[in-house]
């Protein structure tokens, strides 16, 4: 089975039912996407497929159609994505375990809606669970990132 992750091509020998999450984590050693629930309830496993946010615990590798980007491919320490910059500016993370997924969700959401209202943010980000309660800063960081994207 072939797949492209963060610009690199990989070939893996796994059954087609294996969720993308576990191909990334245990076969390729790409551990930014996290396991939290395995049933599309927490969003910790969120990655982008052709830029769109997808719960990688729900996507069987056999059904993968598109290029995968994980948090590691979104931006790096040296070249941060706007959303990551906003997250650092607002010091969002506590334990941080949910934050790969939060950032991937926010990045793809802002791609489709760069002038979100508060309600838009609540709707888009409520599928990502944070057990530490970083929500107030997630809201603030999404707004900062949106403002930056709009050059305001």
């Amino acid at each position: 089975m072939k797949l492209t992750v963060n610009g690199t091509d990989h070939e893996v020998d796994v059954e087609p039912e294996m969720p993308l999450l576990w191909v990334l984590r245990d076969e390729l050693g790409i551990t930014g996407p996290k396991y939290g629930c395995g049933i599309a309830q927490c969003g910790a496993c969120t990655v982008h497929i052709d830029g769109e946010a997808v719960r990688s615990c729900q996507l069987e590798i056999g059904d993968l159609d598109g290029v995968v980007t994980t948090i590691e491919g979104l931006g790096t320490r040296a070249a941060l994505h706007v959303v990551q910059e906003a997250w650092i500016e607002h010091q969002v993370a506590q334990c941080g375990y949910c934050q790969s997924g939060q950032i991937m969700s926010a990045a793809s959401f802002l791609d489709t809606n760069s002038r979100p209202t508060d309600d838009d943010i609540d709707d888009a980000m409520s599928a990502n669970l944070c057990r530490c309660g970083t929500y107030p800063r997630i809201r603030a960081a999404v707004k900062s990132a949106a403002a930056k994207l709009n050059g305001t």
Binding site: V14, E15, M18, P19, L21, W22, R25, D26, E27, G29, T31, G32, P33, K34, Y35, G36, C37, G38, I39, Q41, C42, A44, T70, I71, E72, L74, G75, R77, L80, Q84, W87, I88, Q91, V92, A93, Q94, C95, G96, Y97, C98, Q99, S100, I103, I121, D122, D123, M125, S126, N128, L129, C130, R131, C132, G133, T134, Y135, P136, R137, I138, R139
Partner: protein
């Protein structure tokens, strides 16, 4: 910090003992030195200056022994050391270190003394300092009880200062000048002529001289790192780029993957199993029976999950009542049952006499079992050989793990190595080690091969040792517009003895203070005032959950007080202030009133405002919550929270911790419970156990005061007032007094 006194030669912990405030502590340590875990693995020429600072050829390591479960403790511990050591913490390696008895936590047990935290009289303080002795006896390298900051505040700065002065002395001797002529900056000693010598360069010299222990800590006005609003957590960039390596991400060369299924009735046995389907599944390497269950070793975590679920298991019944209905029945029968009496730490005035006459107000409250459910499920990597057992895991209790692994493997404790990994949350979950024991059992079945064992979310939620359920009965009276009599009884299964017994196999004698922690110890002066704990029989094995006893007692105590205040027909905030006998606590209540522009509990039509107060871990916290009653349900509009935990070392992280505490308190109060059927929880994943999501999160305003005399941790005290403030606000908006959590059993939320 004159009380810090002098640090005795070579044994920093003697000094730290006098810092915490106890003569007994110092004397005890003088009799028996604790082995220093850092001295074991140093090469020649390296200097172990104190157990918290290590300087080697390749740089400086700061040892931050209190585990980081998300609350920022690595950052704050590193900053405490670096402030005095004069280095930029970003340039150092931050390591939790190997577990060793020298890292015992003297603050974690201090709130176990029979004095409320606001009592800082001589007797109470002496008792607290004595508690450092049992902490050492139990060798508690434990992270918990919001104890990291109080435990570290002086100890780690002293470590930094001793290191700095000793390095200066080494430079002074080398250059033939006096130490007083030298300065330090950014990891270097600066000589009078401007020459700079790096600490690393001085390490070997420093190792050969006696440490300089006669040091004075800097005044907070001189701080460069601590207390600054722009401080950034050291782990923030890693956590925002997916590069933080949690226990679940850690990899050891050649490792295999595993998962387990244990009896869903915790403590019940596996009677028989059929693994023939699992054995035939792709990637499965071995089926291993373990204590109370069975595990699968495979070549991928997902394959291990699939296979372990394919095993047919026959379980014995869990060793406790089968259903929530039976459990609550037992709890209710235990309240006010003299046979179940455990302790009464508050008994003022004549409660019995008062309750015999006139109109008595009575109410019964209930709280459910709750899972901790940090987002990272339990996991551990173990490798066992004939001579060593290595464990990589995120934990708050590395020493307990070391001792248990030694028992399981038959190795010596010195042959067990626990490498503590960053944690994706805990909330008390990682004060447990069943998952580590299972990983060790699996690793023993494939000696020499590292085994990474991960619990599925379902295994995690159904094998959590939950926050205990409890029932409370309040009785009280009002007279002349005042609360006159307050009598609270609380029944719960024992918590601390249950946990400690599970970890060590020994029991703690005496009463279990957690049954009434957060209600008996509140700073109020009520003419007739009594709080009694009743110890229900052990049922589901239970554990500490963020804010421990106060998580339920805060709700019981404050809501019942609110009922009495409303019955007295007076203002809820004004009456709490009138009853309050502690200055710092009163200031907290007054400030939350100012912040929320409090003018009564009904600010408008369909709107309600609730105030609640709880002192836990010595920290007074008051919250005001505003709600609106809508057609679809209750909407939480705003939360105001005022806290006094003494000087704030990291304001940005402080606010985050309070946000987190409020949200944790509210989310569970609104939406979450574990209910039992057939001995097992019925909620096994987040669809059935929601906590709070972003759309329900109110705007939260936080204010810190620092009138309190001691510095304290803030990871937990934000939790307890949230549930009662919300329930009190709902009462104000609707007239409905909800006495059972979660609140959504009785009212909808939007």
């Amino acid at each position: 910090m004159s009380q810090a006194g002098k640090i005795a030669r070579r044994t920093f912990l003697i000094g730290s003992a006098t810092i915490v405030g106890g003569v007994a502590f110092g004397t005890y340590l003088a009799k028996r030195a604790i082995p220093n875990p850092l001295l074991q693995d140093l090469a020649d020429g390296e200097a172990a200056i104190t157990p918290y600072v290590k300087i080697e050829a390749n740089g400086i390591t700061l040892i931050t022994p209190r585990a980081d479960k998300g609350q920022g403790s690595y950052s704050i511990q590193a900053s405490l050391i670096a402030e005095e050591l004069d280095i930029d913490p970003v340039t150092a390696t931050i390591s939790p270190g190997m577990p060793g008895p020298a890292y015992f936590n003297s603050a974690v047990l201090q709130e176990g003394v029979p004095f409320p935290a606001y009592d800082q009289g001589a007797v109470a303080e002496t008792m607290r300092s004595f508690m450092a002795v049992p902490a050492k006896i139990f060798q508690m390298q434990v992270t918990g009880g919001s104890s990291t900051v109080p435990d570290s505040y002086i100890k780690l700065r002293m470590a930094g200062a001793v290191a700095r002065e000793t390095l200066k002395e080494a430079a002074a001797q080398r250059a033939g000048v006096s130490r007083t002529e030298l300065k330090t900056d950014a990891g270097r000693v600066i000589l009078p002529d401007g020459t700079q010598i790096s600490y690393v360069d001085l390490a070997a010299d420093a190792a050969t001289i006696d440490p300089i222990t006669d040091v004075t800590l800097r005044d907070p006005s001189e701080w460069r790192l601590l207390g600054k609003v722009n401080a950034k957590r050291l782990d923030m960039v890693a956590k925002c780029t997916g590069t933080e390596i949690y226990g679940i991400d850690y990899a050891v060369e050649g490792m295999v993957y595993a998962s387990v299924r244990a009896n869903p009735g915790i403590g019940g046995d596996l009677l028989s199993f059929n693994a023939s389907a699992a054995e035939a599944m792709r990637g499965v390497q071995k089926i291993v029976p373990i204590k109370h269950g069975v595990g699968v070793i495979a070549d991928n975590t997902w394959r291990a999950f699939q296979a372990v679920n394919a095993i047919e298991c026959e379980w014995s019944a869990g060793p406790y009542p089968a259903s929530s209905i039976e459990m609550f029945d037992i709890l209710e029968k235990a309240v006010d049952n003299e046979d179940m009496y455990d302790h009464r730490q508050r008994d003022e005035g004549d409660v019995s006499g008062a309750l015999e006459r006139g109109e008595v107000i009575e109410a019964t409250y209930r709280i459910p079992y709750l899972a901790h459910a940090p987002l990272e499920p339990m996991n551990a990597i173990a490798r066992v050989t004939n001579t060593a057992c290595e464990i990589w895991t995120g934990t708050q209790i590395p020493l307990f793990i070391r001792n248990k692994a030694a028992q399981l493997t038959g190795l010596d404790e010195e042959q067990v190595f626990v490498y503590v990994q960053p944690m994706g949350g805990s909330f008390g979950h990682k004060l447990e080690m069943t998952h580590v024991e299972q990983a060790v059992e699996l690793a023993m079945a494939v000696k020499g091969t590292p085994v990474k064992m991960t619990w599925s979310r379902e295994e995690d939620m159904t094998h959590d040792y939950p926050r205990p359920a409890a029932v409370s009965r309040g009785r009280g009276k009002v007279a002349d517009g005042k609360v006159d009599t307050f009598d609270l009884s609380v029944s719960q299964s024992a918590l601390t003895p249950n946990w400690f017994g599970r970890l060590t196999g020994t029991t703690i004698p005496g009463p279990d203070a957690t049954i009434t922690t957060g209600s008996w110890d509140q700073p109020f002066d009520i003419p007739n005032y009594r709080v009694t704990g009743y110890r229900a029989p052990d049922m589901v094995p239970v554990s500490s959950w963020r804010s421990v006893g106060a998580s339920g007692n805060g709700f019981f105590h404050d809501c019942f007080l609110d009922e009495l205040i409303h019955a007295a027909g007076v203002d809820p905030l004004a009456e709490r202030i009138r009853l309050c006998l502690d200055d710092a606590s009163r200031k907290v209540l007054e400030t939350v009133g100012d912040m929320s522009r409090w003018d009564g509990s009904t600010p408008g039509e369909n709107r309600g405002r609730g105030v609640a107060f709880c002192m836990s871990f010595g920290v007074p916290v008051a919250q005001v919550i505003e709600v609106t009653k809508t057609d679809a349900g209750i909407k939480i509009d705003k939360v105001f929270c005022v806290v006094d935990s003494g000087p704030v070392l990291d304001p940005t992280n402080f606010e985050a911790q309070v946000f987190g505490g409020v949200i944790f308190g509210l989310g569970h109060a609104m939406n979450a419970e574990l209910t039992y059927e057939n001995h097992a929880p019925q909620q096994d994943n987040f669809h059935a156990y929601e906590g709070m999501r972003l759309y329900q999160t109110p705007v939260i305003e936080v204010k810190a005061l620092s009138n309190a005399s001691k510095i304290r941790g803030i990871g937990e005290p934000g939790v307890p007032p949230a549930a009662p403030a919300l329930a009190n606000a709902i009462f104000a908006a609707t007239g409905q007094r909800i006495r059972e959590l979660p609140l959504n059993k009785h009212i909808n939320f939007v």
